[in-house]
Symmetry: C2
Subunit: 480 residues, 2 copies
């Protein structure tokens, strides 16, 4: 590699234009820093172009399809026609949305005077980086750099993706037809969303959960999810040992050992797994530079988001912790604020999990099991959406709100929602938990009537036997 003679001086260089990187770039620009943002592919990264945004277009369509018969129940005039969904139309819509959002990011970069450089970045030293784009090679000297290069999904053993029948991660959004029978390996939240989405689209769906794994929620939510899977005729194979998936011209054969220890095969039309994230670190040359990584290969960072080479920061999927856009976005802001001399911090303890299943899930704070493990004497309460007026009105009566509280202090430790409205309710539960809300902080305010958020109130009131719309458990009622 030949280093160009002209070294351009830059203040802040950010590698990767995904949600972490572009957020860091904009925040740093807002705070007066000159920013150079290097992106090898498309602004918005995996999240905007292939992950979060496309997947939510799909889950949105699935949710709407699952409501059609309700719409006929309430007298809306239409007739179902043809297949549940035309995937090519959905894909065209998805592309319009992602293009609009991507153009929005480009316009924001421009408006914030962020220099966007297309190309593949490689660290040359601890203050220089090279960017290769075809025959062009530029060298930047930087004061600080933020690595926000993300990761790439890798298939587990036994899976050789062909992008047609054996599908890894977001390649599933390229399918032009709804699979006849989709076999899903894994119970991660993306796998779950896709299982329910393609089921709503009309596919048969099987989910394989490997031995020692389960859906990643509070046990009561997981139980409800399993009930819903059964009701939707999604076949769950638990306690499996996955062996291999093989594709033929028109089928996939998924070989595994079932929970009884028997060799089993599911014959499906397509296979999906989310895979693990392998960080995009090698081509960046961070190992050569001596940037430390964890045993799992993630880039080590301190509380200031700095790597062991202090002018170089790292954020997002290539750092330890969950591979969620919400984490990358927050880290992006915080890195920019720290670099520009501000005080700022990331606290991942109250990262909400929002899953666009049907119905959706949102959770914030501790599960019942986690709270017990931490030594709390736990008080739990659960309010069913079947008893909520608004859920009845909109015909979405499945699910519940579960509250995990500390018996000793009345502190709300966790809120776990599965049901209509869960996505937007996540804001309420997260901010209340951040503000260290006790039960009375939830019960004092007014709740719009009718609304699903009244269920959060009732679940909290239920901690002391005071939910209005739950049958009394006399021994529970306490005067306060």
């Amino acid at each position: 590699m030949v280093v160009g003679e002209l070294v351009q001086e830059k203040e802040l260089v950010i590698i990767g234009g995904g949600p972490g990187g572009y957020t860091a770039a904009i925040r740093a620009a807002q705070l007066g820093r000159q920013v150079t943002l290097i992106e090898k592919d498309e602004l918005g990264g995996i999240c905007l172009n292939h992950g979060c945004i496309p997947s939510k277009v799909y889950t949105h369509a699935a949710k709407e399809i699952s409501k059609l018969s309700h719409l006929q129940d309430i007298g809306i005039g239409f007739e179902q026609a043809g297949p549940a969904i035309q995937l090519n139309t959905l894909i065209a819509y998805k592309n319009r949305v992602t293009n609009q959002l991507k153009n929005g990011v480009a316009a924001l970069c421009k408006a914030n005077k962020i220099e966007v450089v297309k190309g593949v970045a490689t660290f040359l030293s601890d203050d220089r980086i090279g960017v290769e784009a075809g025959h062009d090679f530029q060298t930047f000297q930087f004061k600080q750099a933020i690595i926000a290069a993300g990761g790439t999904p890798v298939a587990p053993k036994g899976v050789t993706p062909d992008d047609e029948r054996i599908i890894l991660s977001h390649k599933i959004f390229s399918l032009q037809d709804v699979p006849k029978h989709l076999v899903v390996l894994g119970g991660d939240v993306i796998a779950l969303e896709l299982a329910m989405t393609f089921r709503a689209f009309g596919a048969e769906v099987s989910i394989l959960l490997e031995k020692g794994t389960d859906f990643p929620f509070d046990a009561t939510i997981t139980k409800e999810l399993k009930r819903l899977c059964k009701k939707k005729k999604i076949v769950l194979q638990t306690d499996c040992e996955f062996k291999v998936v093989e594709a033929t011209e028109d089928a996939v054969h998924v070989h595994f050992t079932n929970k009884l220890g028997e060799d089993s095969t599911i014959l499906g039309s397509h296979f999906y797994t989310t895979g693990d994230i392998s960080v995009n670190a090698t081509e960046l040359g961070i190992d050569r530079l001596g940037i430390e990584r964890t045993a799992a290969g993630r880039v080590k960072i301190n509380e200031q988001l700095q790597t062991n080479i202090s002018p170089i920061y790292a954020i997002g999927d290539l750092t330890p912790g969950p591979t969620l856009a919400v984490k990358a976005i927050k880290q992006g802001k915080v890195a920019a604020e720290i670099i520009t001399g501000g005080k700022s911090e990331v606290d991942l303890s109250l990262l909400p999990t929002v899953v666009h299943t049907i119905p959706p899930i949102s959770t914030a704070g501790l599960t019942e099991a986690e709270a017990k493990e931490l030594g709390y004497t736990v008080n739990v309460s659960q309010f069913p959406l079947g008893s909520n007026g608004y859920a009845s009105i909109v015909g979405q009566k499945e699910g519940f709100v579960k509250i995990v509280a500390d018996e000793a202090t009345d502190l709300i430790l966790g809120v776990h929602i599965i049901g209509e409205g869960a996505v937007e309710l996540s804001g309420m539960t997260t901010i209340a938990l951040e503000l260290v809300a006790r039960d009375e902080d939830f019960t004092f305010p007014h709740y719009a009537h009718p609304s699903v958020n009244e269920s959060i109130l009732e679940a909290v009131e239920g901690l002391v036997g005071r939910a209005i719309h739950m049958a009394p458990k006399k021994d529970l009622v306490r005067t306060k």
Copy 2:
């Protein structure tokens, strides 16, 4: 009136089984009190049977109809057929929902061992009440009573309701056909919901706003609403003086003076107005008893919700303040808690307003004008839903989040939302305002990505020029 010889001793008598009354009854029963609930008509009251719940069935249907073309855009397979809505089917659905909820209330009363008495109540003295049901008459002696008898809509001058073409309040939910042209008098939130709902159902709609009145929101929300009305071809006549509405066999003639002072007539097919609430006090005999009322006829109460006759409490629509179920519900709980010896209070200053227009509105706290009037140096910020990823995904890009903050303390004084998700977002804004959130309390937590609630974050970040997805206004950015 002959008082029966047998006087039955009761602990707590509650008059009226609407949301205020039945909530008070259940809460008092939870706290160990024997409760007798007197209802002359149906449990659940106007709200459940004729008001809040039916209206939300209608607004729900309207919202779904307005999304149909979007569903075709995303590839969902159906064809629109026949009229937009079959009102008889919607009415049957509404009746199923209200019956289910009403039966739920009855079951909860039973489970809480609440004695429900059907009949018309009349106070005989300050500790006795008679209940007449046909030929039966019972007399109860009570330790305490809660008046939760609500109110009845009365037509304004010039309006003589006939329940067919000239319609007052909830009688509109009896219409069997969608009006050809609905003329709405007034810009109250119920009138607004109905105007947008029937417009979505296919009716032509005109709204008459009387001189000196406007939609009851922050001015920016009102402006956006007017833009949306225009876009939906809802005709707004502002600064009118309504004179009279007359019905013929197949039309209504609505006579008014327009904003130019000219005599005008709208020829419509139907006329709607919400009317004022007249409290249901006369037949109760509260005037004879000497219970004091305000100049407007509402029952006067102190902070403990007591009337001037201290064992008699009053809650809900017949007390001063807004005629909202959310107020009655809260007062019902608080009255029960106070009567059973607890400490409890009602604070109506943070009553959220939620309106199921298309898109919906939710507001909590002060408007910009109110904050200025109170002497605050106000900092405002507005984030458009057109720049929110999730709003784009679900095809609901209209509207915005507006934040009103105190420049001096960074306290958030008001949150005004018009747009997708506003209903369930009301919980977040109300609880945050109750917890006296400053801007950093909103910006520190994580927000699910993508979700509409990110728009609240961005609107708050915009207070100091730090919204990621808004073009920069450099002079606004502040280091903190």
